[in-house]
Assembly symmetry: C2
Homo-oligomer: 233 residues x 2
């Protein structure tokens, strides 16, 4: 059952490298969707937002393709221990990247509901928050490709900034709602946009923890994974 021969081992690495390239491509699409959904939100670009929603299908198709290849890789190469764990980790990362794309799509879907919301001041913090999360997605995929534990750790460290942004925006939107009840519907949509970005940060962090573990064999500190932080009171 052990593949043994160097030929088989090389074939596995070759397959895995192709898979990594595919996952990197998925990450690029997800990152683009985050940036683009936020641009559409700020500029009230309904058509652009529709395109982000439409483009998410590409990410779904790539996820299916990546899954198919991982299953094939396992079936054909019968990888042992570490290699098998790496294939399973790839399967999980693929799922997370698809989910990040879903969050970006959900932001884009709120664009039509924000017409006339140009006066909502807290919206000015959202693009910076989106920029940080898009970078986290970019960097964690780089760390995955390069098996770079330090880079993965650096991604985790940025999640605190995302959480801080989220808390500031949450408070600012609630204050805004109280001061201007007419803004309540639009502010509620922006609350969900902020929450989507906060979740993207969490998911990038989860991937970073997987990459760190794969690269170093150690777990990264005691931070709870994927915590949805309590919103401020």
């Amino acid at each position: 059952m052990q593949p043994g021969s160097q030929h088989t081992v090389k074939a596995f690495d070759q397959d895995l490298n192709e898979l990594r390239a595919l996952i990197s491509q998925m990450g690029g699409l997800a990152e683009h969707s985050i940036r683009e959904s936020m641009r559409c939100l700020v500029q009230r670009d309904r058509e652009g937002a529709l395109k982000v929603v439409e483009d998410d299908k590409k990410l779904d198709a790539l996820e299916a393709e990546a899954e198919r290849r991982i299953v094939q890789l396992i079936a054909l190469r019968a990888p042992m221990a570490d290699d098998l764990r790496e294939a399973v980790a790839a399967l999980k990362i693929v799922g997370v990247v698809e989910r990040i794309g879903d969050y970006a799509k959900n932001i884009a879907k709120r664009v039509p509901q924000l017409d006339g919301a140009s006066s909502i001041e807290p919206i000015s913090l959202l693009p910076e928050m989106a920029r940080i999360t898009a970078e986290m997605v970019h960097d964690v995929l780089d760390a995955f490709i390069e098996r770079d534990g330090d880079k993965a750790r650096a991604v985790c460290e940025r999640d605190q900034a995302v959480d801080d942004f989220y808390n500031s925006i949450f408070r600012a939107l609630l204050t805004f709602m109280m001061e201007d009840p007419q803004s309540i519907t639009q502010s509620a949509h922006l609350l969900f946009v902020a929450k989507n970005l906060e979740r993207i940060g969490d998911h990038a962090t989860n991937v970073a923890e997987m990459v760190y573990f794969a690269a170093t064999g150690d777990r990264m500190g005691e931070r709870q994974k994927g915590l949805d932080p309590s919103d401020p009171q």
Copy 2:
């Protein structure tokens, strides 16, 4: 590489049955967390809510155990085609059930922030919405264990009711916020509670689609998977 012998095939089925029992146990915990988090929310039971948050660690531990077993199953039994796909599907379902537990935990974490919110009327719809989603989680795990395509389809059909509840609660909470700006903070937390339940319904539906496909070999209609429906305007 083909396992071939009946002995090996039986061993695979035996392993898979044990795995199914473990996943069913996870589903039971997730279902309990949904019901319990909602009870704590309605009764403002802070201690009970802390316990729901604490108990989520059990679900995380079971997820890790299930993953370990699936990887071991693949490594030891080297399953072919359909069996391998079933093992990979189990891996995905395990991840979704863990995520459902996270949503319930997030509901529980909002309990301390709702003290004094007894007058928020839309909250009366939430327990019924929670009841439906907990049932969906229960039934889709049953369908998985029994490989029952019809039961899986019935779970999907109930997701529309969950979405309808979500839309009603979203509108009711926004109206409430406009009429009583003092309720805005608490209402915002309840918006997220409703969204968490809506997402649980989506995840149960996604699992149902996987179970249906595994049981029948057919894809279930054209419904988009895992759609986070646009919130009403």
